[in-house]
């Protein structure tokens, strides 16, 4: 009996570990956090990497916000509403929020931030989140702002919480040359020191609008790019918190009393895209053959050490938008038959393009190479610099590219962006009339069940047509010292430090 009570107690502790249960948070202290990569630009409209966005996460804020359970909640905006034609959204800001430079937040700041985001001159890869260049952002009064898009965006409030590219920042962030080096936001921390890409200090604001937080005085961020070194730095007590672990060390770290490992299913997926504009990938049978030829469980096991969920479509079981359609259990006979039908019975040669620095991708590609070899497809892996990778992806100079999509919150992030005809990130050349119709329609619907039905059909078309071959969805993993309390490991990978405190 006593044992059971303890077990239940442990379980409840585990479940609520993110909430730090009964203990009162302690004020003060410095958290030493190790990033997985150096941040690049700190300009939210230029930043494109996790490393940059997760720094900005603690400095900039958005109108809406996803809580730790992925529910959309008000943040800088108190309320919002949509016009009858579905084109105009009105957001009412909460009063009394100030930027870290002391100035009060007004609707004009929202207008400036969003206008810079959608300005084609800025060239942000995130402009689509609020519609694009045709979007008009206007201040109605000091605290009311309207966003009018050219076509209805059903999920605009969710889109505004997706990442910090849609955050509100102060115009004073701008340097003389039009760049932003250190953005000024309304968030709980300010970037107080930047030493190249080797050390960055976040200092807590004492005039932050949420009462009581942040608890920490400072967060010192250093990138440790080497997985093993990062794990060891945590184990050795050189840092208190690490961005991610090396998956192969999971067991070791879990057995270490000095380390807490926290997991959550991620909103991302790993895949490889095929070039539908060239043979043999223009033939759907060839694409399906590839989908049948790979064993996703093995790929997950060896690419990411099993810290993942094998999937045949884009969404994993961690999102409400999971679709259980899974036609591609490994079937080598079927794959061979399809290849035969398509006239490639003797197989063919193809190149998979991976980018230097994306380790699990390269590992996955090597497993795929071996598995496709079994149906006569001779894969060569071309592991190149990410810059070159992006150039070649954009220019369509590839057979297949392998990478992952991260930070996907709303269902349309999984479908619209990459696969609608003519979209910026549609690099495969996929075009399907019915699919386009569905994803366009999906953008105008509010009701969850209605939307789900629409995207379920879109999902089926996409999986059947197989422009992307889906492999797995990763688990989000964070690790920290036991005295680090109040950190929530989130499915959307967001790193929020303002609820963190140190029990020491």
């Amino acid at each position: 009996m006593k044992r059971l009570v303890i077990a239940l107690l442990l379980l409840s502790l585990f479940v609520t570990s993110g909430l730090a249960a009964a203990q009162d948070p302690k004020e003060g202290g410095t958290l030493r956090a190790a990033w997985q990569a150096p941040w690049e630009s700190l300009d939210p409209h230029f930043a494109s990497t996790e490393a940059s966005f997760q720094v900005l996460n603690n400095v900039l804020e958005t109108l809406t916000f996803f809580d730790d359970e992925m529910n959309l909640i008000p943040w800088l905006a108190e309320t919002w509403s949509r016009s009858d034609d579905g084109l105009t959204w009105t957001f009412v800001l909460q009063d009394g929020v100030t930027f870290s430079n002391g100035r009060a937040l007004t609707a004009a700041d929202v207008v400036w931030s969003f206008s810079r985001l959608v300005d084609p001159e800025t060239g942000s890869g995130n402009a689509w989140r609020i519609g694009g260049a045709g979007t008009v952002i206007e201040a109605v009064d000091d605290l009311t702002v309207t966003i009018t898009t050219e076509s209805p965006i059903a999920n605009l409030p969710a889109s505004l919480a997706a990442n910090k590219s849609v955050a509100v920042l102060a115009k004073e962030s701008l340097e003389d040359d039009g760049t932003i080096q250190v953005p000024i936001g309304t968030g709980p921390f300010v970037i107080s020191e930047v030493e190249g890409t080797t050390r960055l200090v976040l200092t807590a604001r004492d005039d932050y609008w949420q009462a009581g937080v942040p608890y920490l005085d400072e967060v010192v961020i250093t990138p440790i790019t080497d997985d093993a070194a990062r794990d060891l730095a945590l184990q050795g007590g050189e840092v208190d918190w690490i961005f991610t672990i090396s998956p192969q060390n999971l067991e070791t770290l879990q057995n270490d009393d000095g380390v807490v490992v926290a997991l959550a299913p991620r909103l991302s997926y790993d895949y490889f895209g095929l070039n539908l504009t060239k043979a043999p990938f223009d033939d759907v049978r060839v694409r399906q053959a590839i989908a049948y030829a790979i064993d996703r469980e093995v790929i997950c096991q060896f690419a990411f050490f099993g810290l993942c969920e094998a999937t045949q479509g884009p969404t994993g079981s961690g999102t409400p938008w999971y679709f259980p359609y899974a036609p591609y259990d490994r079937d080598l006979d079927k794959a061979r038959a399809l290849l035969d039908e398509a006239g490639y019975g003797d197989g063919f040669e193809m190149e998979i393009m991976t980018a230097i620095g994306f380790d699990e991708t390269l590992r996955g590609a090597q497993v795929v190479e071996q598995q496709l070899d079994e149906v006569g497809i001779d894969v060569t892996i071309d592991n190149i610099e990410f810059g070159e990778w992006l150039d070649r992806e954009a220019a369509g100079e590839f057979d297949a590219f392998m990478l992952s999509w991260l930070g996907l919150t709303d269902v349309e992030d999984y479908f619209y962006l990459q696969h609608r005809t003519g979209n910026t990130f549609n690099f495969t050349g996929f075009s399907n009339e019915r699919f386009d119709e569905l994803v366009d329609q999906g953008r105008t619907i509010d009701d969850f069940d209605e939307r789900y039905a629409v995207y379920e059909e879109a999902n089926q078309i996409l999986v059947d047509e197989a422009p992307y071959i889906y492999m797995y969805v990763k688990a989000e993993v964070k690790a920290y010292a036991p005295y680090v309390k109040g950190f929530a490991t989130r499915s959307d990978s967001a790193v929020n430090f303002w609820t963190v405190w140190l029990d020491q």
Binding site: P120, E121, D177, E195, G196, T197
Partner: protein
């Protein structure tokens, strides 16, 4: 005479440094494509690019760019990092001590091993200790520095759990922590340095021992130990100073590698990060400072060399 030699060496070093600046300056010029575009990414607009080119000074004639770059560099202004927009000079100044401390510590460890080993094996050529010394030094030259790091981490961190495998505490913050983090990297560099030093010291000692005045001194009836210490060693000093000079260059190369492996915040790891981030001005800065460091050390060695024995300096000229 004395001053003439020193001035000659100074002028020579200055010329080398001037050449170094040309090479380093060319780094950004030789990047295939437009460095502004490379650094801004594919989504950069024409306006962004123009602003960036201006910031990098790429819109001016090559000659002008070089002159202004060198002039600024001479005043310690190495420009700003493309990624973070922070001035580069202070960043390097921040990292330099770690690199120098590691090199210094490694040299010390190297000498502590190499001197006894080199001298003993020269005094007793053909004995077991000589064979061992030769073998060890052959091994040390052939073992890659990064592999040696791995082996030491496997032994002292993973297996014995005595020392941290990576990380860094500044010496000013906590000496003990600093030493704990430095000792494995320094040992790695030290062993490799010792293997090279041992060979030099051994042959330098042998050479000196063969020379006449040692025989003379011995004939005078001095005890053997005194002979060794007073005469041989002093004469071998010349060679040793040269070795140390040569060593420092090779050592700095090893230190660059070892810093990266042990994630120490030195110039080597800064350079690799800068390369990864395509932060060309930062690459230029670190490479320039390292090259100037090497040149300065070489100059110092030449001068010390000359002060010990002016004849040799003449021969070299």
């Amino acid at each position: 005479m004395n001053t003439r030699f020193i001035i000659q060496r100074l002028v020579f070093s200055l010329l080398v440094v001037l050449g170094v600046t040309v090479v380093v300056f060319m780094i950004i010029q030789l990047v295939p494509g437009d460095p502004a575009r490379v650094s801004l990414g594919q989504q950069a607009t024409e306006e962004n690019l123009r602003a960036r080119r201006e910031r990098l000074g790429l819109n001016r004639p090559l000659y002008e760019q070089y002159v202004s770059w060198v002039t600024n560099a001479a005043q310690g202004d190495l420009g700003k990092s493309l990624i973070t927009n922070q001035p580069i000079g202070p960043q390097i100044a921040d990292r330099l001590p770690t690199t120098l401390q590691l090199a210094g510590l490694a040299l010390l460890i190297g000498m502590l091993i190499a001197f006894p080993l080199g001298i003993i094996s020269a005094l007793r050529p053909g004995t077991i200790i000589d064979t061992v010394a030769t073998f060890v030094s052959q091994l040390g030259v052939a073992v890659p520095d990064f592999w040696m790091s791995i082996l030491l981490v496997l032994l002292f961190s993973t297996t014995l759990d005595w020392l941290p495998p990576s990380g860094y505490t500044p010496i000013t913050e906590n000496f003990r922590d600093w030493l704990e983090h430095m000792i494995l990297p320094a040992m790695t560099a030290g062993f490799i340095s010792a293997s090279i030093q041992t060979r030099f010291i051994r042959s330098a000692m042998l050479e000196t021992l063969r020379q006449n005045y040692v025989t003379t001194a011995r004939a005078k009836g001095l005890r053997e130990r005194v002979v060794v210490l007073r005469h041989s060693l002093r004469n071998a000093l010349i060679t040793i100073v040269t070795i140390l000079g040569l060593q420092m260059t090779a050592l700095l190369s090893a230190v660059v590698v070892i810093e990266i492996v042990f994630v120490l915040p030195g110039l080597g790891s800064l350079t690799l990060d800068a390369v990864d981030a395509r932060d060309y001005p930062l690459v230029q800065g670190t490479v320039l400072v390292m090259a100037i460091l090497v040149t300065t050390i070489n100059l110092g060695v030449d001068i010390i060399y000359f002060l010990i024995d002016p004849r040799i300096a003449h021969m070299e000229q």
